[in-house]
């Protein structure tokens, strides 16, 4: 059992949770993820580390409430425990030796963008962060980003309720155009990553993306997480989750993410009927 030591609600549907897991905390690196089960009979779901402390033996992650498992998670409090936490999984994000880099975090992707940006800053890179969200209420971790030694923090919302009224690709394009960046990384919904990759490509600016295919074991045993990169099948959990965005088949990724949509709706409905907590 893994004891919950911290919870915080970041926005309407986004939560932060800290769990006691010393062995995992000692190893976690930016860009890696964990797999957890809330309780017996539960689904195994992957979530990225948002923070950790090897000294104090805890890890943190940030999740958006989208379905049954994330709903259950959102109801847990400090002192409760998770049945299973496994990690750290996946290849850490490459953060060394980067020059001028833009990190794009869309929606809950900001949770991953944060430790990645921090690690890049620590490694001496010149980091510009572009945070995107549908509106100001959905923007997360702004204060944390402001505390990092960034070159610049650009905020873009769909409705202009915070920062620029733009999609994240607009400031990204400007940075490419003005030759202000040598590399980029995009973390967020698949569709956003697809457009970030497309935006950077004409300028020859590399764009690493952190993919989120459906996973089961997270250790290379099942192949559920197959993604096509440069025409080759790769396993998202062990070969990734980071890949060259210019080579990823995003249509396939988005299609594969939707396989169980109907089933998930059913599970979620059943759950709400039983726990009568409302969506």
């Amino acid at each position: 059992m893994f004891r919950i030591v911290h919870t915080r609600q970041l926005s309407d549907a986004v939560f932060e949770m800290g769990v006691e897991a010393p062995a995992i905390a000692a190893k976690a690196r930016a860009g890696q993820f964990l797999i957890l089960r809330v309780a017996e009979g539960g689904e195994r779901i992957p979530l990225t580390f948002s923070d950790w402390s090897a000294e104090e033996g805890w890890i943190r992650f940030i999740f958006m409430r989208v379905g049954k498992t994330t709903h259950q998670l959102s109801h847990l409090q400090v002192g409760d425990a998770l049945t299973d936490v496994v990690g750290p999984l996946g290849v850490p994000t490459h953060t060394e030796g980067l020059g001028r880099v833009a990190v794009v975090g869309g929606g809950v992707g900001a949770a991953v963008a944060y430790p990645v940006s921090r690690a890049m800053c620590d490694a001496g890179a010149e980091v510009t962060v572009i945070l995107g969200a549908r509106n100001a209420d959905l923007l997360i971790l702004e204060d944390e980003f402001r505390a990092l030694p960034l070159k610049e923090l650009i905020i873009a919302t769909d409705d202009g309720s915070a920062g620029r009224k733009d999609l994240v690709t607009a400031p990204l394009k400007e940075l490419c155009e003005s030759g202000a960046i040598d590399a980029s990384m995009a973390i967020g919904p698949a569709i956003m990553m697809k457009f970030c990759a497309a935006t950077t490509k004409p300028y020859g600016v590399p764009c690493v993306v952190s993919l989120n295919p459906i996973m089961v074991d997270g250790t290379g045993m099942c192949g559920a997480c197959r993604v096509t990169v440069g025409g080759q099948t790769r396993f998202g959990c062990v070969d990734g989750p980071d890949f060259d965005g210019h080579l990823v088949d995003f249509e396939e990724l988005m299609s594969r993410q939707r396989v169980y949509t109907d089933d998930e709706r059913l599970a979620d409905a059943e759950y709400h009927r039983e726990c009568s907590c409302g969506p």
Binding site: T69, T83, M221, G223, D263
Partner: protein
Amino acid sequence: MRAVDDTGSPVPPEKPRHKPARISRTAMPERGPEERARDFDEVTLGYTEEMARAEASRCLQCRNATCIDGCPVNIDIKSFIGGIIDGDYHEAVAILKERNALPAICGRVCPQEEQCEAACVLARKGEPVAIGRLERWLGDFDLACELEHRCVPEVGPDSGKRVAVIGSGPAGLACAGELRRFGHAVTVFESLHATGGVLTYGIPEFRLPKHIVQAEVGLLEEMGVEIRCDVVVGATYTIDELMTAEGYDAVFIGNGAGLPMFMGIPGENLNGVYSANEFLTRVNLMRAYEFPKADTPVWRGRKVAVVGGGNVAMDAARTAKRLGAEEVFLVYRRTEDEMPARKEEVHHAREEGIEFKMLCSPAEILGNDGFVTGLVANRMELGEPDASGRRSPVCVLGQDFTIDCDTLIMAIGTRANPLLAQTTPDLELSSRGYVLADEHGATSKRGVFAGGDIVTGSATVILAMGAGKVAARAIDRWLKPGAE
């Protein structure tokens, strides 16, 4: 004159000579195909005591018991059957467990017809003693006993040494049990949230009920084996860290060969195309057949094609049927004679209405809107025997055909998962990524031993178990003071 032994005390008179019964092989009751293909309960029901005794009475108790050579771990089959004949079941279990820690499991899943039973003298007349079924009956008899009456191997005096076992499949479990008998402290590290390896996530409930696997693991815990799930060695700890910071004196690698292979044909990443590992893991480990009570879904196809001809393919096909598929096809490159699956599984699959499409090889997977709709296959014919002696299939040109399906399961084998080896640079591997180990399980790395599928490639439960035991003995020798 009464017989006396060397010390002069009288020797008890010999047991009355056993007279083998000349009856035919005792059938094992099983549920009818109609009924069983709709649920996940066990297919075969096992012998009753009467049946077990009747079957045991067929054994000739041969002076030269050839059956023993047929068993990869050389169980003293003659003596355990003798125990049944005498009605001394506890003794019979003890004899079994001397060599095989998991009789209730091996009795169910061993390919007996190629091993012990093939070597039984009665096999020549076509009806060998049903050694596997007797083994299963004894294993179940033992499991049904209250714990204090069960045959628990004796734990040796504390040696002060600690061994880390990686993986809780048959290799790891057998190794852990044996190490406890030598008095070493043992921790089993398992990457999944449940123990058992393929026994839990691969082989379905209807062939091997999970409570049996859990009972065997429980017995190991009773012997003092510590089990830590949710630890991926190579990620959470490296082998070097286990041997330094974590303070283990030796390591056994039993992480299996769990990396699924795909064919590399067009359309393989369409929705509805599964590796057998994923399909079976969703259903067995995550219990998707109880969805939405269990949280993990699985795509329930109406027309399912399974590619392959081994036990894994049979398990996937029969599982798909139980999830409600109307039609299940088994697509195999060669003919039924070459299929590596156990005969009993092939027979059961056929009975349950699995349709065999032999001599065809998938060429392309068709899809619509991201979901699989069919499989284009090439017609094959058998050519010359290859290096393995099997006639290799060759493509018949211009005879492609399409099989309609909404789910496709690839059961074409697995390979070594590189995750562990990548973080252990001084561990020598074969060209195909398996761990190189000598006949005692010793690897190129000091204090590190290995066995099971990670050394041999996908094999059998009994071979993995045997390798785990052999390695435990080598580890014991290595840990002995003064030994190197």
